[in-house]
């Protein structure tokens, strides 16, 4: 019945459990003596979560109704932070920027990840080499690699614009033009995550039974039909995983735009016109550059709302996989396979 039974069908009862008396034949131990080791084992997480999770989240509700610079007195200002938030054009710009950068990065990334995964799947040789090579960007420091790619994108004499000059075409303002700035940030996230997602997709491809492909072949399906009718539909869960993780990651984008466009002397972030200011970068600026802690907390709640909305959408798309996630083993069966 419990969570842990699923794979093997029976749970190990704790020492001295009522259902199975201990081998020495003694009476079952009272509850607290029976269970304290398990509660002790899980307690570090819950204590840390209470101190650094529950309390701060509750406190941020309070803080979002305050005006506070982090040092002086807190002053209750009611709904003013939220009232300002809905009229704050910089905040709305940061939401727009985040969504544009997210689309600019996710769509090409999922496509490229699928192409690479498919090529890896069909390739017989050098698989291990390819997998490591594609994965290296993901484990290296975002700060370091953003600095490197930032130099490549440099407007005046970066490598990319030098290459464009060499083929006699004008340079692009990679770090100054509103759209090109977003493309630059998106390109860095694609570079970092495409290999990771390709390897996830590859695992999904390899999980598809070869019987299915054999059957398709017997039925006379050509490559194109096999890909669109079998491979893609069976990859749906994996593609959704990639989409969900990239949504959450995309909404929390911070390091790339912050390193690419460092905070200037006036405390401005996100480059010329703030065209690459993401939501988290905006939160950082308000709270930790301008010391507007109360307003920062309110921005945090707006971000939470946004992520919650997207999570519900994702949850709907995945449809019922929550049961599997905690390993109860109960599948929704027919109701799921509409």
């Amino acid at each position: 019945m419990g969570l842990a039974d699923a794979p093997r069908g029976k749970a190990v009862k704790p020492r001295g459990s009522a259902a199975k008396p201990p081998p020495d034949g003694s009476r079952p131990l009272p509850g607290w003596r029976r269970y304290w080791p398990m509660y002790t084992a899980v307690s570090p997480f819950f204590i840390l979560f209470a101190v650094f999770g529950v309390f701060p989240v509750g406190f941020s509700v309070y803080l979002s109704f305050m005006s506070w610079d982090g040092i002086g007195e807190t002053r209750s200002i009611g709904w003013d932070n939220y009232a300002y938030l809905v009229t704050d054009s910089d905040f709305w710009q940061s939401i727009g920027n985040t969504l544009i950068i997210w689309i600019l990065s996710t769509v090409p990334m999922v496509f490229l990840a699928l192409v690479i995964a498919y090529a890896l799947h069909t390739a017989v040789r050098f698989k291990a080499f390819y997998r490591v090579a594609y994965f290296v960007p993901n484990i290296t420091s975002i700060v370091a690699m953003t600095l490197v790619l930032g130099s490549v994108f440099s407007d005046s004499s970066g490598l990319l614009n030098s290459a464009l000059r060499a083929i006699n075409s004008g340079g692009v303002g990679w770090l100054s033009d509103p759209w090109a700035m977003k493309v630059s940030v998106a390109a860095i996230t694609i570079w970092r995550w495409v290999g990771y997602n390709a390897i996830i997709c590859l695992a999904g491809l390899q999980a598809i039974s070869s019987d299915v492909f054999e059957a398709a072949k017997v039925d006379g399906a050509n490559n194109r039909q096999t890909f669109f009718r079998i491979t893609l539909p069976m990859l749906r869960p994996v593609i959704l995983f990639v989409a969900v993780t990239s949504t959450i990651g995309g909404l929390q984008l911070f390091t790339e735009p912050q390193v690419l466009f460092p905070v200037d002397d006036n405390g401005n972030v996100g480059g010329p016109g703030g065209e690459a200011t993401t939501i988290v970068l905006y939160l950082y600026q308000q709270a930790f550059v301008f010391n507007r802690f109360g307003y920062g907390a309110a921005v945090g709640w707006a971000l939470f709302l946004l992520i919650a909305v997207f999570s519900v959408i994702n949850w709907r798309l995945i449809g019922g996989r929550d049961e599997d996630a905690i390993g109860t083993g109960k599948r929704k069966g027919k109701s799921r396979a509409r």
């Binding site: 419990g2 309390f55 420091s141 370091a144 390091t255």
Partner: protein
């Protein structure tokens, strides 16, 4: 015969695609080395220098002059190894209990664990900073280590692993021998969980080593920051000397690539398996 030719040409196209992808993926690493070993003037000249030059040591020495590189490296290493050790300890204990024992409230508690890793950390950024300020931990290593010492992802992942890997019979046998919960965790659980722990360990280590936002906020003393923040500070102060900045970036990345190349195969396989379980 024709089918064979078609298959071969498909393989060639596949490898061509993969190689092109690898070139694009690897190029920034090559370029990082080219930049770090040339002068800024040569890199940004037209046409730019495209091959490694002789100025690597010079640029690296300038990095040592510009930031407390070894101090930052020390902070980063201590933070990353401490968090990794604590995460392995706490997460494996909790996962072992959740996977193999029945106790009142287990289901609810595990749901809470799952629910917490859906909450974006940035929501609590401001109040977490205030909490740490009250505790007097801002600017100290404790701020980097303690809040991340146990995490929901690790518990979830290790629990999945423990369910499949630890046979109930093993636990029953050790119970007959008189072993209590912690002894069972140590003698039965940990040895079996070793591959899973290795993955979680590398994952956590990389995560803490590469983290930027949290140390940027809590390590308020400019002379006492992690490597990531130090390299970015270098960029902020010496923007005109890009070769030196990139030399610093290179030095901050090399240890990671080393660790990754040693444990990569295992790491990637586990990561893919983990994603498939969702």
């Amino acid at each position: 015969m024709r089918a064979e030719t078609a298959a071969r040409s498909r393989t060639i196209v596949g490898h061509a695609v993969l190689l092109l992808g690898v070139l694009i993926t690897i190029f920034p690493f090559y370029w990082m080395f080219v930049m770090a070993s040339n002068t800024t003037g040569d890199i940004f000249a037209y046409p730019p220098e495209l091959v490694p030059g002789p100025h690597l040591w010079e640029n690296m020495n300038k990095v040592f002059d510009g930031i407390d590189f070894w101090g930052s490296m020390g902070i980063t290493v201590v933070a990353a190894t401490s968090v990794t050790f604590l995460v392995l300890l706490f997460d494996s204990l909790a996962a072992f209990a959740f996977a193999k024992y029945d106790f009142p409230g287990r289901r609810v508690l595990f749901w809470i664990v799952l629910a917490t890793f859906m909450i974006p950390m940035q929501l609590a950024l401001v109040p977490q900073f205030v909490t740490l300020a009250w505790l007097g931990w801002v600017g100290s290593l404790k701020a980097l280590i303690i809040p991340g010492a146990a995490n929901a992802f690790g518990i979830f992942w290790m629990r999945q692993y423990a369910q499949g890997a630890i046979a109930d019979e093993l636990i029953q046998a050790s119970r007959v021998d008189g072993a209590g919960f912690f002894r069972q965790w140590w003698t039965v659980g940990l040895p079996v969980l070793r591959p899973g722990l290795a993955f979680l360990g590398i994952f956590t280590f990389f995560h803490i080593w590469n983290d930027y936002l949290w140390p940027l906020i809590v390590m308020t003393d400019p002379g006492k920051v992690t490597l990531q923040v130090a390299v970015q500070q270098l960029n902020g102060v010496y923007t005109t000397d890009q070769s030196m900045v990139i030399a610093g970036a290179l030095m901050s990345v090399i240890p990671l690539i080393g660790v990754f190349l040693i444990g990569s195969r295992h790491f990637i396989a586990n990561l893919a398996a983990g994603a498939m379980k969702f």
